[in-house]
């Protein structure tokens, strides 16, 4: 993090569905190689923000640059180039139910490279190894647990060696141990492969463990209410709501 080179730039970004403004005019940068967490209470627009960054929704105003390119202004070919730089692991995995783990992970290689089937399979197996799932290659998504599905989703998301990996709610619906294992996986990948992680979550344990930097959204003001190191925010934030969040207090308790 010595040379802080922004890889994602969000500038004056507003998200709205019709008249319903979800996020109102926010700006922030994500730097290369960091583990960046978007957090906030339920319904604050965390996932909406992520879906805008990866290009699924169009911003109501403002712009989002990934590695210098605006995905919403790019033509189809440029969009593909930008999409190859990012990988997305969805909340419930979004694995294709009719394909085995190996086929799911190998799919982008088949679609985007000319590797021979044997070679592509080896590369897919390398990634499956990396997420610790060797032995489950020929299982169907319906035959593996929720934590394993998320691992497969990570393996598939990074099969083309993206620079940025988005991860929506890694801990949602998982037991604490599996959740910690996923956090370890994120740390391991981020340290060894120099991938920038953008993680959407509200699980405090994960946040303290993996985050370099967080931004916090609040649905009442629809803006970023805090930015920085989570340990720092816990003790030193002057916003009472932020302090409450990091210290796990309910609103009625004070």
């Amino acid at each position: 993090m010595e040379d802080k080179k922004p890889i994602i730039k969000v500038e004056n970004f507003t998200a709205a569905f019709g008249d319903n403004v979800v996020i109102d005019n926010i700006s922030f940068d994500v730097y290369e190689g960091e583990r960046f967490i978007v957090l906030g209470g339920s319904g604050c627009g965390k996932s909406v923000l992520m879906k805008h960054i990866i290009g699924l929704y169009k911003p109501a105003s403002g712009r989002i640059l990934i590695d210098g390119d605006d995905i919403h202004l790019a033509d189809e070919e440029q969009q593909l180039e930008i999409l190859k730089k990012i990988g997305v692991a969805y909340q419930s995995g979004a694995l294709f139910g009719s394909m085995t783990v190996l086929e799911n992970v190998r799919l982008p290689l088949e679609e985007f490279t000319d590797l021979s089937p044997q070679f592509a399979e080896e590369v897919a197996r390398m990634k499956i190894n990396l997420v610790g799932l060797t032995g489950s290659e020929h299982k169907l998504p319906s035959e593996i647990s929720g934590g394993m599905k998320k691992r497969v989703a990570v393996a598939r998301a990074m099969i083309l060696d993206p620079k940025i990996l988005f991860f929506d709610e890694p801990g949602a619906g998982l037991d604490p141990i599996t959740s910690v294992e996923l956090d370890d996986l994120i740390l391991n990948l981020s340290e060894n492969l120099n991938i920038t992680f953008v993680v959407v979550t509200h699980e405090l344990m994960s946040i303290y463990k993996i985050a370099n930097r967080v931004i916090m959204l609040d649905k009442r003001v629809k803006k970023i209410v805090a930015e920085g190191d989570p340990h720092d925010l816990k003790d030193n934030s002057d916003n009472p709501w932020v302090k409450q969040f990091f210290n796990r207090e309910s609103e009625t308790s004070n």
């Binding site: 490279t113 590797l115 197996r125 390398m126 190894n129 099969i159 060696d161």
Partner: protein
């Protein structure tokens, strides 16, 4: 680290002897180049069969995961052929990646090949079809119980669901039912008018239409169209609910899935199919009317001929069949929906099965009725 577009990589052989093979990789190891480089490396190693292989890696400009697989393959080949190898001056960045993946040894386990002999195959197929018959019989029993409970406890009937299903299945289908039957009537009338006119009996087109449409084609065409529209919809709806665990939710709430989901569809189909069939017959007759008018008959002549030819027995014999067609349409659709396994493809499979099985059963039952009616003299 962005993938290079041009395959600008090369493998150089610096020295080659049975003792020492010195290779150098220059350029990028990416999905485009790596296989070519590896094939050359492998050929060279197999040709020379050296004791030591040195790969000068100082000029590798880029390597991603497929690129790193080059080194993993080299490692595996070395243990297979028994040579030692060294990567010289590999950039620390890539060395780190090699180490990361090097930890993992993946022996390719032979896949569990299911060696099934012929007899096992027959046994399995028999067991499966027995299972599926068991399911079908249970389903029929549950539905009959459902009907029984409807009559003993009418307050539990979900009229709103029945109305909604009736609208989708019946009202919204009228146009297509009318169109199909109109064309059937038109075509039959037109085709039969030609030979009948040779005997001066063109007016008997009306009798022929009554005979074929009331008892046979009206109910059959209508049932096949409704089967295609609604049986598939039932299977998809219930199948998607099954995939989303909504059926499980019903079960744990103590709500009987047959009463809640299946019965409204049965009732709606049983009520709407005869009505649609009557519409269908009417429009088939209109199709005949168009032909007769174009042949120069006044409409009243056609109408009189029809009223003379048609009996209530014809109509009721046709409508009686639709009860069975309705049971097939609702039953097959719902049963296939409930049998859905997991995943989006499974819903598609169920829908296909529902339509195909529905059509087969409808045609078979129609055939049986043909024989029965013949012997009964209806």
């Amino acid at each position: 680290m962005s993938a290079l577009k041009t395959p600008d990589s090369e493998l150089f052989i610096k020295s080659s002897s049975p003792e020492l093979l010195e290779l150098q990789v220059i350029g990028s190891l990416d999905p485009i180049t790596v296989e070519n480089i590896w094939n050359k490396t492998e050929t060279q190693i197999k040709k020379v069969n050296p004791k030591v292989v040195n790969v000068d890696s100082s000029r590798i400009t880029y390597a991603d995961t497929p690129g790193i697989n080059y080194f993993i393959r080299l490692r595996d080949l070395s243990s297979k052929m028994g040579f030692s190898y060294e990567l010289i001056n590999l950039t620390p960045e890539y060395q780190k990646l090699v180490d990361l993946f090097d930890k993992y040894v993946y022996e390719k386990k032979p896949e569990e090949t299911i060696n099934e002999d012929f007899v096992t195959g027959i046994g399995k197929a028999t067991a499966e079809s027995l299972d599926s018959s068991y399911e079908s019989i249970t389903f029929v029993g549950e539905v009959m119980l459902g009907f029984f409970r409807y009559f003993t406890n009418p307050s539990k009937i979900r009229f709103k669901d029945i109305l909604v299903t009736s609208e989708k299945l019946g009202v919204n289908a009228i146009f297509i039912i009318a169109l199909v039957n109109f064309l059937v009537g038109l075509v039959i009338a037109f085709q039969s008018a030609i030979p009948l006119s040779q005997y001066g009996g063109t007016i008997f087109v009306a009798d022929l239409l009554v005979l074929s449409v009331f008892k046979e084609l009206g109910p059959l065409m209508t049932a096949i169209v409704v089967n295609g529209r609604s049986s598939s919809a039932f299977a998809a709806e219930i199948g998607t609910m099954k995939v989303n665990e909504e059926i499980d939710a019903l079960t744990t709430m103590g709500i009987n899935k047959i009463r809640f989901l299946v019965m409204p569809k049965f009732i709606a189909t049983l009520v709407m199919l005869p009505i649609l069939t009557i519409f269908g017959i009417l429009f088939a007759m209109l199709g005949g009317l168009v032909v007769m008018i174009s042949l120069g008959f006044p409409p009243i002549t056609y109408l009189n001929q029809i009223t003379m030819a048609a009996t209530y027995v014809d109509l009721l014999a046709g409508l009686f069949k639709t009860i069975f067609f309705a049971l097939i349409i609702a039953g097959v659709g719902c049963l296939e929906g409930l049998r859905t396994k997991s995943g989006a493809t499974a819903v598609g499979d169920s829908t296909t099965k529902a339509v195909v099985k529905g059509i087969i059963l409808i045609v078979v039952v129609d055939g049986i009725f043909g024989v029965v009616y013949y012997y009964l003299g209806v």
